[in-house]
C-alpha cells in the first residue's frame, strides 16, 4: 500500500518523510508557537514519563510549552469537551482529545448540544474555535475501542469533520482546524498513526509521507483525487483510502482503471469534485469502515443519486462494515473491516 505515499512524496521532493503522529505533533507545535491562545486538553497528554496521549501525538509538547498549556485532565470526557467549549467561548483555541473515539459518546451532550449550537443559539454572536481529536478504527481491541464515528458528527449541523489519510493532510488539516472559528471533530485512524516504541500499533500500516519544510494549510471542503481513471469512482476516507488505492492497483491489472478520491473532510464535503468524477466514470463505489446503515456513505449515495442520476451507468454501491459491533477475534475483525478484496469484487460486479 505504498502508492499514496509515493504520490504525496512526488508532489514535494524537498519535504521530509514523517508519520502521521509526527505530522500531527508538528502541527500542534507550530500552532502553539504561533498563537499563545492554543492550549491542549486531554488525558495522559503531558505527564512526565507518560505516553504523550494514547498514541504519542503530544509527546514532548509539555516540555516545550509547559503544563499550563498542555493540560492533563482527569478521566472526564464530558468535562473535557465542555471545558474546551467554554474556554473557546472565552477566547482560547483549545485542542482537546479523547484516547479513543468511542469515548466521544460520553462527551456527546457537550459536542452536539453546546459546541455545535451555541453560535446558532446566540444569533451568530458567539464563536467556538475548538478542536476535538479522536482516534478511530478497528484494531483488535473489541467493540468499545474500535468504532468509526464520522457519520454521527457529520450529521450535526454546526460541527466540522476532518479525517486525514496521510501525514501531509494530517498536518495541513489540523493546522486549519485550529485556526477555524468553528468546532472541528478531527478523526485519526489508529492503524495510520505510525506511533513508535511501546505505543506502536500492531497491524499498523507503514505510512510515511512527505511533509514540506515550509508552512502550509489545507482548506476544509477540498477532496483530493489521488488516482485518475475513467471506469469507476472510489471514494473513501482514513484507512479505506489506502485500501481503495490498493484495490485500484489490483483492478488496473485486470484492465479496470479506477478514480480514487480521498474526501479529507466530511463536513464540509467537496461535492463538486465527487460529482465531476462520477459524471465522467458513471459508476460510484463508496468505501468506509463504519457500519453500513447510516454511515457517511449513505449520504454520499443519496446526494450522488440526486445530482448525477443522468450519468450513472450502474447502481451506487457501498463497501462498509456489517451492522454489528466491532468483533475482537482477528479472524472476525478481518471479515468485518472492508478489505481490498471486497472493494475489488464490488467494482468487478459493476463492470
Amino acid at each position: 500500500m505504498s502508492s499514496l505515499n509515493e504520490r504525496v512524496s512526488r508532489s514535494d521532493p524537498e519535504g521530509r518523510k514523517m508519520t502521521i503522529v509526527e505530522a500531527l505533533r508538528e502541527a500542534l507545535q507550530e500552532e502553539m508557537r504561533r498563537d499563545e491562545r492554543v492550549i491542549l486538553l486531554g488525558e495522559d497528554i503531558g505527564v512526565q514519563g507518560g505516553f504523550g496521549g494514547a498514541f504519542t501525538v503530544t509527546l514532548g509538547l509539555a516540555e516545550e510549552f509547559g503544563r499550563r498549556r498542555v493540560i492533563d485532565t482527569p478521566i472526564t470526557e464530558a468535562g473535557i469537551a465542555g471545558v474546551a467549549t467554554g474556554a473557546a467561548l472565552g477566547g482560547l483555541r483549545p485542542v482537546a482529545d479523547v484516547q479513543y473515539g468511542d469515548f466521544l459518546f460520553l462527551a456527546m451532550d457537550q459536542l452536539a448540544n453546546h459546541a455545535a449550537k451555541l453560535r446558532y443559539m446566540s444569533g451568530g454572536k458567539l464563536r467556538v474555535p475548538m478542536v476535538m481529536r479522536a482516534p478511530v478504527g478497528a484494531t483488535t481491541r473489541g467493540a468499545q475501542h474500535a468504532q468509526s464515528l464520522e457519520a454521527f458528527f457529520m450529521h450535526v449541523p454546526g460541527l466540522k469533520v476532518a479525517c486525514p489519510s496521510n501525514p501531509y493532510d494530517a498536518k495541513g488539516l489540523l493546522k486549519t482546524a485550529i485556526r477555524l472559528d468553528d468546532p472541528v471533530i478531527f478523526f485519526e485512524h489508529k492503524l495510520l498513526y505510525g506511533s513508535k516504541g511501546s505505543r506502536k500499533e500492531a497491524g499498523g500500516l507503514e505510512i510515511f509521507g512527505t511533509v514540506p519544510q515550509e508552512e502550509y494549510l489545507i482548506p476544509f471542503g477540498q477532496a483530493r483525487v489521488l488516482r485518475q481513471g475513467p471506469d469507476v469512482t472510489l471514494v473513501a476516507n482514513l484507512l479505506m483510502v489506502h485500501k481503495s488505492m490498493q484495490a485500484a492497483q489490483n483492478l488496473a491489472e485486470a484492465g479496470i482503471e479506477a478514480e480514487v478520491i480521498d474526501v479529507r473532510t466530511l463536513a464540509p464535503f467537496d461535492w463538486p469534485t465527487l460529482f465531476e468524477s462520477v459524471s465522467q466514470t458513471g459508476k460510484l463505489v463508496i468505501v468506509e469502515e463504519d457500519n453500513l446503515t447510516g454511515g457517511w456513505g449513505a449520504e454520499v449515495a443519496a446526494r450522488t443519486a440526486d445530482t448525477c442520476i443522468g450519468y450513472l451507468q450502474a447502481p451506487i454501491r457501498r463497501v462498509a462494515a456489517p451492522d454489528t459491533p466491532v468483533p475482537f477475534a482477528p479472524i472476525m475483525e478481518n471479515f468485518y473491516v472492508p478489505s481490498v478484496e471486497r472493494i475489488v469484487a464490488t467494482v468487478t460486479e459493476l463492470m
Binding site: 468535562g79 465542555g82 467554554g86 473557546a88 482560547l92
Partner: protein, 323 residues
C-alpha cells in the same frame, strides 16, 4: 468575614432589580396566556433574591451561565429588557435574533452566555470559561447558575472536580428550589444539602437563605472574592422556591397548599419591603415610584418587541458556522 455594608444606592438598585425581575415574569406570564408569544416558558417568580443577590455582586466583565429558567438571571445581569422581550416575541431584535427563545436568552457581550437548557450542561461551559479567565490572567469570575436537579447529573461532578483541581475562578450557584420539575429533591438526593457535595471536591460549600437578597449578596461577595484571589471555586447553595409552576402548563399539584403558603411568606421582595419600610429606606411612595418606573420600562419593552420585525424564514439558514 465581616459584613458587607451596602450603601443606600446599592440597596435601592437591588430592590429595583428584584422588582424588575418579578414584574418582567408577571408580564411575560400574562402575554403568554394571551397567546402573544410562541413556545414555552419556565418562570422564576419567587427566586429574585438569588438572581439579583448574585448578579449585584459581579463586575462588568464577569460572566454568568444560566439554565432553562433564565429570565430573572438575564434581567438581573442587566441585559436590556426590550431585547429580552423581543427574543420571547421571536423577533429579529431579540438578544439572539430570534434563534434562541426563552430557554437560550443571553448576550455574552453583556456578561451572560446564552442560557443552556440541558440540565447541568452549562456547568462544564462555565468551568471552561473560567479556565480562559485564569489562562488570560483576567481579573474576572464566572457565576454558574443551576438548579437542585442538576446536582445529580454527571456534568456537575466532572466540571466541579476540574474547577476544584485547577482552582478556577468560578462560583457554582445551586438555586435549590426544592423540585426538579415535579420531583422533590429529597426523593432523589441522599445527602441533606447540595452544598454537602462540596466536600467531595475539596472546596467550600455553603447553604444560605436564598430568599434574603442581602444574605445572598454577602455569600456571593465572599465566594467571588475567593475566586478572584485565585483560591478556587465555591459551591453556594441558595434555598429558594419558585412560586410559579415548572413550566407554562404546570399547576403544581405535587406541592401542598401549606408549603406554597409558607414560602409565600418568605417572598424575597415582600421581605425586603417590610424590612426597609420599617427601617425607613423605603416608603410607600418610593415603592409606588419604583414600580411605576418598572411598569413603564416593561411597557416600552413590549411596544418595542411588538413593533420589531420578525426574522425572515430563510434566516434560519445562517449563523451555523462562522466560515
Amino acid at each position: 468575614m465581616k459584613e458587607v455594608s451596602l450603601t443606600k444606592e446599592k440597596k435601592l438598585a437591588i430592590y429595583r432589580s428584584m422588582v424588575l425581575c418579578r414584574m418582567f415574569e408577571e408580564r411575560v406570564n400574562s402575554l403568554f396566556l394571551q397567546g402573544r408569544m410562541p413556545g414555552t416558558i419556565h418562570q422564576a417568580q419567587g427566586q429574585e433574591a438569588s438572581a439579583v443577590g448574585v448578579c449585584q455582586a459581579l463586575q462588568e466583565h464577569d460572566m454568568i451561565t444560566s439554565t432553562h429558567r433564565p429570565h430573572e438571571h438575564a434581567v438581573a445581569r442587566g441585559i436590556p429588557v426590550k431585547n429580552l422581550m423581543a427574543e420571547l416575541f421571536a423577533k429579529k431584535t431579540g438578544c439572539c435574533g430570534g434563534k434562541g427563545g426563552s430557554m437560550h436568552i443571553g448576550d455574552a457581550a453583556l456578561g451572560m452566555l446564552p442560557a443552556i437548557a440541558i440540565v447541568g450542561g452549562g456547568i462544564p461551559l462555565a468551568t471552561g470559561y473560567a479556565l480562559s479567565f485564569q489562562y488570560l490572567k483576567k481579573p474576572n469570575i464566572v457565576a454558574c447558575f443551576f438548579g437542585d436537579g442538576a446536582s445529580n447529573i454527571g456534568s456537575f461532578h466532572e466540571a466541579i472536580n476540574m474547577a476544584a483541581i485547577w482552582d478556577l475562578p468560578v462560583v457554582f450557584i445551586c438555586e435549590n428550589n426544592k423540585y426538579g420539575a415535579s420531583t422533590a429533591i429529597d426523593q432523589v438526593m441522599k445527602v441533606k444539602r447540595v452544598s454537602d457535595r462540596a466536600a467531595a471536591y475539596g472546596i467550600p460549600g455553603k447553604t444560605v437563605d436564598g430568599n434574603d437578597v442581602e444574605i445572598v449578596y454577602q455569600a456571593m461577595q465572599e465566594a467571588a472574592a475567593r475566586a478572584r484571589e485565585g483560591k478556587g471555586p465555591t459551591l453556594l447553595e441558595l434555598e429558594t422556591y419558585r412560586l410559579a409552576g415548572h413550566s407554562r402548563s404546570d399547576p403544581g399539584h405535587y406541592r401542598s397548599k401549606e408549603e406554597v403558603a409558607e414560602w409565600k411568606k418568605r417572598d424575597p421582595i415582600a421581605r425586603f419591603e417590610a424590612a426597609y419600610l420599617k427601617e425607613g429606606l423605603l416608603t410607600d411612595n418610593l415603592i409606588r415610584t419604583i414600580r411605576s418606573s418598572v411598569e413603564q420600562e416593561l411597557n416600552e419593552a413590549v411596544a418595542f418587541a411588538e413593533a420589531s420585525p420578525s426574522p425572515l424564514p430563510e434566516e434560519c439558514l445562517t449563523d451555523v458556522f462562522v466560515e
